[in-house]
């Protein structure tokens, strides 16, 4: 499945479709990093949060079935950059043997200003918000 990035003319909006495979993690991170830079947000935090979110989707989203699609969208809305990672997988399932130690989601909630998760048997959508800071202080 091709990686199809779509950016707005001023670089403050992004939509990216990815296959649920490990190489998609870096693709998502690099695309969102540029968005974060232009938006004037905490670039390193956005990179990490998006990486964890896409990684979670790759690892957990499609267990027992064929790989699917992960869609990453991002945009500046008022004083916030909002990045959403959505997959069309199984939805979040409780696992006592989680290979991830639960680190990914806890990291996301620690570094994003706001996190929202919606999950069903049609997939999971995770939205993260980051305050847009003064461009002089962007990381």
């Amino acid at each position: 499945m091709p990686c199809v990035p779509c950016s707005s003319a001023d670089g403050t909006h992004l939509e990216l479709e990815l296959r649920s495979e490990s190489t998609s993690v870096a693709k998502a991170r690099h695309a969102v990093s540029e968005l974060a830079k232009r938006a004037g947000t905490r670039r390193a935090d956005v990179e990490l949060a998006v990486t964890e979110a896409v990684g979670n989707a790759v690892i957990h989203g499609f267990e027992g079935r064929e790989p699917g699609t992960i869609t990453v969208t991002g945009g500046v809305y008022g004083s916030r950059l909002i990045v959403t990672v959505a997959d069309d997988g199984n939805g979040m399932q409780p696992r006592v043997d989680s290979p991830g130690l639960g680190l990914g989601l806890s990291l996301i909630t620690k570094i994003a200003d706001e996190v929202r998760v919606e999950s069903s048997d049609r997939g999971t959508t995770l939205s993260m918000a980051f305050a847009v800071r003064d461009r002089e202080t962007q990381g």
Binding site: A26, E47, T51, G104, L107
Partner: protein, 125 residues
């Protein structure tokens, strides 16, 4: 820091003799994430099997690491003495801080003290 190709991880291993003890220095350059953590794991496993006192993992050339990289470090620290060389204030340093792992895996800002630490840890009563 040398330029790195996004998504690519380069690894090298050097075994040094420190006061009669062998220490493996594994140097990583590039990003460590779900796509590349396996390569790091392989390098650390190989270094563990090299009959060394432990491993000094130099991450000063790593501009990004995520939780999959952390899991790799934790797994290696279960098998052998592992210390890190990291740049203060770097994304790797921040990740260790966020996860409170800075106390679990010793970290230094230069290879010399890191390598000495491996040897000293192995010789502690």
């Amino acid at each position: 820091m040398s330029s790195v190709h996004p998504g690519r991880l380069d690894l090298s291993t050097e075994v040094v003799d420190v006061r009669g003890a062998a220490v493996a220095i594994v140097r990583a350059e590039g990003e460590v994430d779900l796509g590349s953590a396996g390569e790091l794991a392989t390098a650390l496993e190989s270094a563990t099997g090299a009959d060394c006192e432990g491993i000094a993992l130099d991450l000063t050339g790593v501009p990004f690491m995520d939780s999959s990289g952390l899991r790799t470090l934790l797994a290696a620290s279960e098998r052998t003495e592992l210390v890190l060389v990291i740049e203060p204030g770097s994304p790797v340093a921040r990740l260790l801080e966020l996860t409170n792992l800075e106390d679990r895996i010793p970290a230094f800002s230069a290879e010399g003290p890191a390598v000495d630490s491996v040897v000293d840890s192995g010789r502690e009563p």
